[in-house]
Symmetry: C2
Subunit: 342 residues, 2 copies
DNA sequence: TTGAAAGCGTTACCAA
DNA sequence: TTGGTAACGCTTTCAA
């Protein structure tokens, strides 16, 4: 018995059972009308032959690839990982599969990835933030599929949006620090064009402190993203040198907050007491650190779920200009030990 | 002037320039013989029309999809993220693109993902560890493309391997603790089938302590992966209750080590002094924590680079049974403050 | 419930 | 250096 070379294809299965490829195609899908007996035989034959569908061929024919392109700044970031989890879980069970890319916070990388992904004909595209190269923006606009920008409220938006104002989230924290009685407040990070969400948080900090009549000049850079613990530590050294009477510090991320805090502890400063410290993002480390760190929870997983919801809705609709939607999420302040007034 | 509907395809570009699709296909690739002038015109036309290659069609025709399927347990894990980075960077510039999936440490999820990914006809498949369902193993074996198992040394291996013995890595740490003079040593984590690398580390701990003539019964579970700080904290409570005379603890991950350590600090124990603590993985938090945490650096990024190297080599070779290769990497002990003898 | 024929958009192959 | 033709493996569409 001569076995065919190469992986089995649909016609091999069809031949073995004695039906047409169309019947096989139908039998392997749910919700199609094929007689029970035929379907059983086809399943059996497919199993025997180790048949696997060729999605590229299927997609080419049906014009539906089942890909959702998702582009995030970094994989190793609990916040974006949570968003991805939200997306994955909500998309699970649908015919959609995520094509994931990460940019390392570089909009030129983003452009490259978008270009690469477009050739895979995704049915929807999800990007992080509203800062893109001109060409990337053009590619997204012309893509002809739903585009979702998340984690921010860009103006103008390309298409769909799920996010929040990073600047306003900062306000929550500044107000908390003010209420606790802190007046000389510093800010670490958010100084680079590459991390626009960080920039917005810093802007929000400046606006909020101004509004409260506080000084807003204690700003320390923390270098290129991703934000790390190291940078928080280095920045805290600078801050302590330049403005040694600082009472509280807000950091662009919990990671730099942790680094800043350990730097204080190593210098013999008490946190809180000599220095109050706040972060952003509600990472695990903020909860378990000693002292635990006051932070902002942005609801990262929920963002992913909302994005998935939009995609499912948009793809169900047949070229109906269902219009743009902007879903605003609500960042929440989480008060912990690191900002207590002693 | 009537514009065609839908996205531009190759024939649209060809028509506009007045050449065949073959010439367009060639002109858009590098290292093909097309006259300079023609190529210029074609590039121009493609740009004007916003033409994007349809990779599905290209892959169908050429039998090369450009996909490398990569399956890791978790995205939000600095170790696997580093491996992914190594892979990405080394693959960058080649025609290969990563199709990423994560299993949440569930081999049934892994099987599903493998199945899903196979229909995309990847040119190589990378999986984490050597523990798979029977069906997954069968799918991988029959896939007809190079398969790389990484982060472990499975026996028997399916095909290619890049990894290290997690058990032996544990030995490094036990010996370090022994040399520091610790005798009553506990272990946290590595108790679940789902994390086979954790299991191996625990087994290695038991073997090594036995060999040194130490007690090896101070084992505390830490629940399902992913390993978190919370679990380290909870486990430390249990350990302190059950075996209050414990001198040192090794944890299956730096994250649980950090949780365990903060639990000690909150209980008023000195680390080191009253309790020595060691982790695994060399996460950032181990370096920045106060005290800093002794750990094992497994060279995660290097693993990714080695995997990419194998893939590039395998795909360059034309059906030559280049054979299986096993690359062993070398985990390194990193001594820090948390295990100092006071 | 089933099948035949005609694509889907690209590249391999061979010829000019 | 260029082009014609025939796939690639599947689904759509229309008919039976």
């Amino acid at each position: 018995m001569a076995t065919k070379p190469g992986p089995a294809k649909m016609s091999d299965v069809a031949e073995r059972v004695g039906v047409s490829t169309m019947t096989v195609s139908r039998a392997l899908k749910v919700g199609t009308s094929v007689s029970e007996e035929t379907r059983r035989q086809i399943r059996q034959a497919a199993d025997d032959l180790g048949y696997v569908l060729n999605s590229a061929a299927a997609g080419l024919s049906s014009q539906r690839t089942g890909f959702v392109a998702v582009i995030i700044p970094s994989v190793n970031n609990a916040n974006f990982a949570d968003t991805l989890r939200g997306l994955t879980e909500k998309l699970h069970g649908s015919r959609l599969q995520i094509l994931l890319g990460y940019t390392d916070y570089d909009i030129n990388r983003e452009e490259q990835i978008i270009e690469q992904f477009l050739s895979r004909q995704p049915e929807a595209i999800v990007v992080t933030g509203g800062s893109h190269t001109d060409r990337a923006r053009q590619l997204l606009t012309q893509a002809g599929v739903p585009v979702v920008e998340m984690w921010d409220l860009p103006t103008p938006a390309i298409d769909q949006v799920v996010g929040f104002s990073n600047a306003r989230a900062s306000t929550l924290m500044v107000e908390h620090l003010f209420q606790q009685g802190y007046r000389k407040i510093g800010f670490i990070g958010g100084d680079t064009e590459r991390d626009t969400r960080g920039l917005d948080r810093r802007r929000g900090f400046i606006t909020a402190t101004k509004k409260l009549g506080l000084q807003y000049h204690r700003l320390v850079a923390s270098g290129h993203p991703p934000v790390t613990m190291r940078e928080g530590a280095v920045a805290m050294q600078i801050l302590l040198t330049q403005w040694s009477d600082t009472e509280a510090v807000m950091c662009v991320s919990d990671l730099s907050a942790f680094g800043a805090m350990t730097e204080c502890l190593r210098s013999g400063l008490r946190v809180p007491g000599d220095m109050a410290i706040a972060g952003f993002g509600d990472y695990d480390v903020a909860e378990y650190a000693v002292p635990s760190i006051t932070t902002i929870d942005v609801g990262a997983q929920m963002i992913g779920e909302q994005v998935a919801g939009i995609i499912l809705r948009e793809l169900a609709i047949i070229d109906d200009n269902s219009g743009q939607s902007v879903i605003k999420t609500e960042p929440k302040l989480i008060v912990r030990e690191s900002t207590k007034r002693l």
